[in-house]
Symmetry: C2
Subunit: 362 residues, 2 copies
Amino acid sequence: MSETYHIVPEETHNALVVAAYRHRGYTEDEANDAARFCVEAARHGIRTHNAIKALHLDHLFGSGSGGCVPGAEIEVLSSRFPAATVWNANRKLGQSVAYRAMEACMEMADKYGVGVVSVDNAFHYLWGGGYVMEAAKKGYIAYTNCTAALAEVVPFGGKLPTLGTNPHSWGFPTMDALGYPVVIDWATSVVAMGRVQQFKREGKALPPAAAVDADGNPTTDPAKAVALLPFGAHKGYGLSLINELTAAFIGGSLPTLRSRWADDGDKHTPNFFFQAIHPEALDGGDFARGRTQEENLKAVLADLFQDGNANCILPGQIEAEAAALSDRHHGLLFSRAEIEAFNEIAAECGHPAWDPSAFATT
Amino acid sequence: MSETYHIVPEETHNALVVAAYRHRGYTEDEANDAARFCVEAARHGIRTHNAIKALHLDHLFGSGSGGCVPGAEIEVLSSRFPAATVWNANRKLGQSVAYRAMEACMEMADKYGVGVVSVDNAFHYLWGGGYVMEAAKKGYIAYTNCTAALAEVVPFGGKLPTLGTNPHSWGFPTMDALGYPVVIDWATSVVAMGRVQQFKREGKALPPAAAVDADGNPTTDPAKAVALLPFGAHKGYGLSLINELTAAFIGGSLPTLRSRWADDGDKHTPNFFFQAIHPEALDGGDFARGRTQEENLKAVLADLFQDGNANCILPGQIEAEAAALSDRHHGLLFSRAEIEAFNEIAAECGHPAWDPSAFATT
């Protein structure tokens, strides 16, 4: 890293994040969930979803506009299906809902082999990778998808943005084999709209087939880009559609209404879908050369990344390396600009500002 | 269609396909499953996985080489998990196993909301889309993945082909909303190796980032291409990895050994993973404007494909249109070259040859 980073102790970070969420009306539990999540995002180098972005999104779409309701209670709906439950989140803080939903999936997976939680009336959970990563560290094969806040993506072959950037996240318990869980986690658009705006500021061209202009034609000019395209043509388009269809089955209304708050008697909330599978529920017990399931996983990974592929990066590896770096420094690494953004948050909620010179740097 | 197609009645097709499978030692049930599957592939225009290809693959990797064992019995392994079971397929015909596994998933989904079947010691099931399409038509949200026969795909950033073309297939019950199920079904490589060979014959350039040469460098020259690349860079790579990891948990051995038969005491079989979810198990009961779940699905689809996106093709639409065409002609549509290929199969198994002039054409 060429930039200088300030090493912020977790307690210092959490005191501010909790204060900021409390100031916006969230309960102590919610503020603690938010801080816990932001620590994990920052530790793993997920700068797009750290506390600064979480609080910014909360302002734009959450408690600042009615998309998220501090103190809301999750309602577990009655169901005749023991391995699949549906929750009405009543717009409760996304992180609190997601942590609990993933836990409920794991409990069901312990009993039934697999467990599913579908969430209606949800609010943004920020970084799906964080939830499946935790579940994978606990030993489960985990999955989540959600509908993104806004319809910014044009279906393959179309002109109008009617799909969200709809991410998918998968986590696999590969701790014994690799030292960290494999976490496959990305949006189904080539880039995010934030990236388009960044490229516009920096005068850079977009990658091909990432965005369209007002006429629905592909453009690499960020100044002309008004909507995004799915990655991988019809394949990423199909993946984005999965989230919209899943949400439609759960209770999501029209994609183009999402997060566009209006007093129109319609629904504007996104949806979450979570799943956990117990790895024993997949275990056929017949592994080559007398291996155990864990030994087999290790052997398969070694085969995939044998000599010639040794430089491949595994999904989750960069995050694991970032976490190791944070742990080595006994704190969270933030740039000077990020420290300043935290101090704006501090000013908002009346929390003492951070003195950058008080932090060690790297 | 500019080419002339011969309209082959299903009974005529099935008599030959059953005879061919019986000739190779398969039981009557297996031969019927194979024919049932090939009818669906042909009806839906899936020319890459019709009976000609199925029997060719059986010759290359199946009963012709030990990868598939005619008359093998499925062994249902004991499990403490009621919603997730593991089967040892003992290399039984892939179509027979896949039909039964998808049925078992649906039965578990009826009871638990979700059901999972993992299959070890499997043989090629040909077209995953066919199984999820049937489950979706029966009203379920269905998913399957498998490890492809050969390791032909280079992990993102690597040089050696150690991943399969590992397909994913999702089916959604959208019959009421669209008249056909949404079926998202594709391999995780940009193209198949068969396409590389076709482009080589036709002197055409490959798409960019679809294949690598012997040094692991991307090439558009099909004559230099020795291995494939995942679609969508790291995103398709992650999707391919999902199948390898899932297989590793079930009982699959090293990806580079797959279908490379040797008397080495190792395992060379692919794996299947199936899942069905009952749509009621996702239903939050709170649909905007008093809609039912089905009405909501229809409204969401109408929003996605509103004016401006009306020309978008939905995944599964082309297959549905092909099936409608087949049904209109009261038979399966095959080209003259395909009729000739069928007659080679007829010669192999001593079945009377088809007289092309006996079929109506279109």
